[in-house]
Amino acid sequence: MNAVTLDALTKTYNKETVLAVDKLSFEVGKGELFGLIGPDGAGKTSIFRMLTTLLLPDSGTASVDGFDIVKDYKAIRQRVGYMPGKFSLYQDLTVEENLDFFATVFGTSVKENYELIKDIYIQIEPFKKRRAGKLSGGMKQKLALCCALIHKPSVLFLDEPTTGVDAVSRKEFWEMLKRLKMQGITILVSTPYMDEATLCDRIALMQTGRILSIDTPAAIVNQYEGNLYAVKSGKMHQLLKDLRAFPGTLSCFAFGEFLHLTFINDTIESEALVKQYLEAKGHTEIEFKKVQPTIEDCFIKLLKD
């Protein structure tokens, strides 16, 4: 049995004028770490809120752990953990009090499931007497995760847990997720950061309520058609303008220290032609190499198709 199943799930807002989730169907297997990857407005939060029974769909069905999200909402609430994108703990309760509160609401105790949160909780334990509102961003995030886990959910929903979080804390957070996955918890996580996609078992690339592609990160990269090149020169901004004006260019965009380039008709002469063109434009220190596309390249390509 799948942990989560969606069948033509649809959600609109504003008297059906805004289509947030558009007939979405997909499945998440038990124990899977599944990523919803996409920008704001992709529908990630709406999906999470429907699956956690906080929002009713317009049409379509979905189930979590075999329970229907409309009919069996009480059963679902008992067995899922949900960490919303916006910090939603009690700001004027302490770390300890928040955790106790959530454990009690779910009819359990911190002691009973301590093993599950231990790794994470020991990092914030020195501050257990501090009010949640006075914690730093990274600490709040850890506490919120503990509170979402304390009743030992079978499915964990994490809505943009790393948005606005610096690169170091983001790495640490994903390390925590890996360890939770090993304990058999199914995890659905959403993120706007494309580089986090590769850390999931499977991902859905999303835009405006639709799925652009759904598969393992490796398979999505393999589906990328054509060659992708990385180009660099002494003057990067000028290079971007010049390459976009080059007649053979299909797409060209900035990508870290390189530009990523694709050709309309890629032939063995492409490289020589583009180099010739760039030299004539006065570029020096030109670097040109074929590269493996990343998930971000795939996403950009899917958006343009």
Binding site: P39, G41, G137, S169
Partner: protein, 247 residues
């Protein structure tokens, strides 16, 4: 070399025993895109607020656009633009009204306001949306509009605080096109971001750790110095030693 548009010397801000910004000394030059990086809690916002004339330093010196950050804060505010991660646009005003409002605040003449707002709407491709409320715009458009109004008065420097959070990769790159255009016009860009690929788009970068500037150089030199392949690795190397994040 050109006169710096930002110059700080041992700029410090204390809150009680806590040193939020600790003896920051650096210079930023006209037309430069300067990346201001650091982990959450490293002191970036504190430093930015001082440079914008919104918060008085505890000690040290600094000038922004040639004006002193202790005594000439009003002059500074007229010569800078600021865009924060929380939107500074009025959601219940239209696109056009927002542009006109900001242009008016910055003292542009009626004729300038008219020309500028038409030009901006055209340039951003928002002609059909000009009369729509900002609240109806997608996030990416809001960010582009927010940036455009922050430079509507052609400031010497524009401060961007995590301007690209949450948008798709194509929109994020379009946003950087706007940044480059502004820099080409001679506007200095001072930007914070959590996207390390964006750090590569900056001319120079500083990385703050626990209130201090631990590194400041071009992306290329920083990678060489730390023997790293990417800015991601450089950042990780420097910021993982931070003590404050646990606070």
């Amino acid at each position: 070399m050109n006169e710096p548009v930002i110059k700080t010397e041992k700029l410090t801000k204390r809150y009680g025993d806590f040193i939020a910004a600790n003896e920051l000394s650096f210079e930023v030059y006209p037309g430069e895109i300067f990346g201001f990086l650091g982990a959450n809690g490293a002191g970036k916002t504190t430093a930015m607020r001082m440079l914008c004339g919104l918060s008085a330093p505890t000690s040290g010196k600094a000038t922004v656009a040639g004006f002193d950050i202790y005594t000439q804060t009003e002059e500074i505010k007229k010569n800078i633009g600021y865009m924060s991660q929380k939107f500074s646009l009025y959601e219940d005003l239209t696109v056009m009204e927002n542009i006109k409002f900001y242009a008016g605040i910055y003292g542009l003449s009626d004729k300038m306001i008219k020309d500028k707002s038409e030009q901006l709407v055209e340039q951003l491709g928002l002609k059909n949306e000009a009369k729509k409320l900002v609240s109806e715009l997608p996030l990416g458009w809001k960010q582009k509009l927010s940036f455009s109004v922050s430079v509507v008065h052609k400031p010497r420097i524009v401060f961007l605080d995590e301007p690209t959070g949450g948008v798709d990769p194509v929109t994020r790159r379009q946003f950087w096109d706007l940044i480059y255009d502004a820099a080409d016009q001679g506007i200095t860009v001072f930007v914070t971001t959590h996207y390390m690929d964006e750090a590569e788009y900056c001319n120079r970068i500083s990385i703050m750790v626990d209130g201090k500037i631990e590194a400041l150089d071009t992306p290329l030199n920083l990678k060489k110095k730390y023997g790293a392949d990417s800015m991601d690795d450089v950042f990780y190397e420097l910021a993982r030693g931070a003590k404050r994040k646990a606070d």
